[in-house]
């Protein structure tokens, strides 16, 4: 649906993005990750035809963003990061205006506006001017204007920024519900958001592509060994030596000593071993108490930091 080839954008001598290549399949939700100033917005602005690239190509639904700009723009719903809206217009009037510009049929426009306002939870503010709305509602209006012509491609630049937790959950589930029928590119620097909503992640840093994969694969690739936190009630020395004896365990250490001899231990297993199952039998045999046992997966945060900082060392 979206093909980006060797895209480069220079701002004078400063570099926006450098040789970025990726594709997005139809119906996919792609997360765009990167620290501030990495080039996320630049890439999105090129795909949405707001500005042309210095070199390289981008195509949306087979149309080149530079050659067939109007065709591309008909198929895109875009929500810029700052959510720029006309503050002197009422919500439905604004949506009708945008719908008209985006080619929604005049006879269908009222019902379309009604539907989008339902979807985005805007019915409570139908009488208000956009300037009077809170940040969260403006964000929803921004999303509503992107959705008004039922576009095939949605490009959302940090769509959940500035929302309260309840709204974030609502917007996320709305975006998740959009996948399948529509292709979505979503930029963010909130990492859990990506693992929650996106099927694939692109990590971009200093204008260059660092990684493209599913969040699960990224985790698997970078994680060297499996770790567990285990909280056991029992004599510390004995626990350390007994657990250390298990042959799949490579390392045991006290992570936190608690009261009454209940300590948290960090247990590291050898690579490719399913070690978790070996611990409970030992505890049962020794008649200790098991309070907690959980695996520590490598979070997207760790991956992100790792990739972005590794990148800097090169």
């Amino acid at each position: 649906m979206i093909e980006v080839e060797n895209l480069t954008k220079k701002y004078g001598n400063a570099r926006g993005i450098n040789d970025v290549t990726f594709t997005v399949e139809k119906g996919e939700i792609l997360g765009f990750l990167g620290p501030n100033g990495a080039g996320k917005t630049t890439t999105m602005r090129i795909i949405t035809c707001f500005m042309p690239a210095t070199s390289g190509k981008a195509r949306v639904a087979g149309f080149d963003v530079f050659e067939d700009s109007l065709e591309v723009r008909k198929r895109i719903g875009y929500l810029p990061e700052s959510v720029p809206l006309y503050t002197d217009m009422q919500v439905p009037v604004y949506l009708e205006f945008v719908g008209g510009l985006k080619g929604v049929d005049r006879r269908e426009i009222k019902s379309r506006v009604g539907q989008v306002m339902d979807d985005c939870g805007l019915n409570g503010v139908a009488k208000k001017f956009i300037g009077e709305l809170s940040k969260g509602y403006r964000q929803r209006v921004g999303l509503a204007q992107a959705l008004i012509n039922d576009p095939e491609v949605l490009i959302l630049d940090e769509p959940t920024i500035g929302l309260d937790p309840k709204q974030i959950i609502e917007i996320r589930s709305l975006i998740k519900g959009l996948g399948g029928r529509r292709t979505v590119i979503l930029s963010t620097h909130i990492l859990p958001e990506v693992s929650m909503t996106c099927q694939r992640v692109i990590i971009i840093n200093e204008g260059r592509l660092v990684a493209v994969d599913t969040p699960q694969n990224l985790t698997a690739q970078l994680q060297r060994s499996q770790q567990f936190i285990v909280r056991i009630g029992g004599p510390e020395k004995e626990v350390l030596s007994e657990v250390g004896k298990i042959n799949t365990v490579s390392k045991v250490a006290v992570k936190e000593s608690g009261a009454d001899g209940i300590n948290s231990y960090m247990v590291e297993f050898k690579k490719d071993s399913d070690g978790g199952k070996d611990i409970p039998p030992v505890i049962v045999r020794k008649n200790w108490a098991l309070y907690e046992m959980r695996p520590i997966g490598m979070s997207l945060e760790d991956i992100f930091i790792k990739l972005v900082t590794e990148e800097k060392i090169h």
């Binding site: 954008k9 701002y11 926006g16 630049t42 602005r45 949405t48 035809c49 707001f50 500005m51 042309p52 109007l70 065709e71 723009r73 008909k74 895109i76 875009y78 810029p80 700052s82 720029p84 809206l85 006309y86 503050t87 002197d88 217009m89 009037v93 205006f97 945008v98 008209g100 510009l101 985006k102 080619g103 001017f129 204007q145």
Partner: protein, 260 residues
């Protein structure tokens, strides 16, 4: 065409959703009404004196209401337009640039020309309302005297042409900056220079002087429209001026895209 109309409608509405249109139109009407009163009062005083004093009447020569009231009336209005129209046009693009709405507007499936012409037409709409509201002054002249209606019509045509030129230059100035004050100052400054360009014609060589005079707004208003002369040369002058500014405006939007 549909997009042009939508943008035109939106521009008109946003003028009336904010106090801009009301304030600019009201102040404009107060000033032009005040000046009109003074011109008219002066004329009636002179006429009264001439009626009672034969010597004075000979000194004044012919007292013509078209020459002495209608013509200065249009001349004054064109001067107030010079001050007021930059206030209407300054926000057109700079506000969109500042608030970032231009980013959305330019990613909708709309041509740059539709955006510019729609905005231009919206502003022309407000301006037309503004000058048509000065018609009561004409009715007053009509009530107390016998002005030539041809001059009135050509005067309004002239104001309309001149307004189009002022507005196109103002919108262009607004498209090069995101600061409204800068846009207003630049358009006011350039309008004033074009207004008074013929001023230095007398000091320049004959050929340059002619060019300066031709480029100036003033001779294309006072020596023609305000006298009741509808000359294609003057109409062409304002049309070309307007088209040139709209052309510059399109280039400035395009360069905005390239520079990001």
């Amino acid at each position: 065409m549909k997009n042009f109309f939508l943008i035109f409608q939106k521009e008109l509405r946003s003028y009336f959703n904010s106090p801009i249109a009301f304030v600019v139109i009201t102040i404009f009407l107060i000033i032009s009404g005040y000046f009109f009163y003074n011109i008219f009062a002066t004329f009636s005083t002179i006429s009264f004196q001439a009626m009672t004093n034969a010597i004075l009447a000979r000194q004044y020569g012919q007292l013509n209401i078209t020459e002495m009231v209608v013509r200065p009336f249009f001349a004054n209005i064109s001067l107030f337009m010079l001050i007021m129209l930059p206030m209407l046009t300054m926000r057109i693009f700079s506000e969109e640039k500042k608030s970032g709405t231009i980013e959305l507007l330019l990613t909708y499936p709309v041509k740059d020309s539709e955006v510019i012409l729609g905005k231009f037409a919206g502003c022309m709409g407000i301006f037309t309302i503004m000058i048509l509201l000065t018609l009561p002054c004409i009715f007053l002249i009509e009530l107390f005297g016998e002005p030539e209606l041809g001059v009135v019509v050509s005067g309004y045509v002239g104001l309309f042409c001149m307004g189009a030129a002022f507005i196109s230059l103002g919108i262009f100035a607004s498209s090069v900056t995101e600061n409204q004050i800068v846009a207003a100052v630049v358009s006011f400054g350039f309008l004033l220079i074009f207004f008074m360009m013929g001023y230095s014609a007398g000091f320049a060589s004959e050929s340059i002087g002619d060019v300066l005079k031709y480029l100036s707004f003033m001779p294309h208003m006072y020596n023609s429209f305000a006298k009741g002369v509808l000359d294609t040369e003057d109409i062409m002058y304002y049309m070309l001026f307007t088209l040139f500014c709209i052309f510059l405006n399109m280039r400035s939007l395009e360069s905005k895209r390239w520079r990001g």
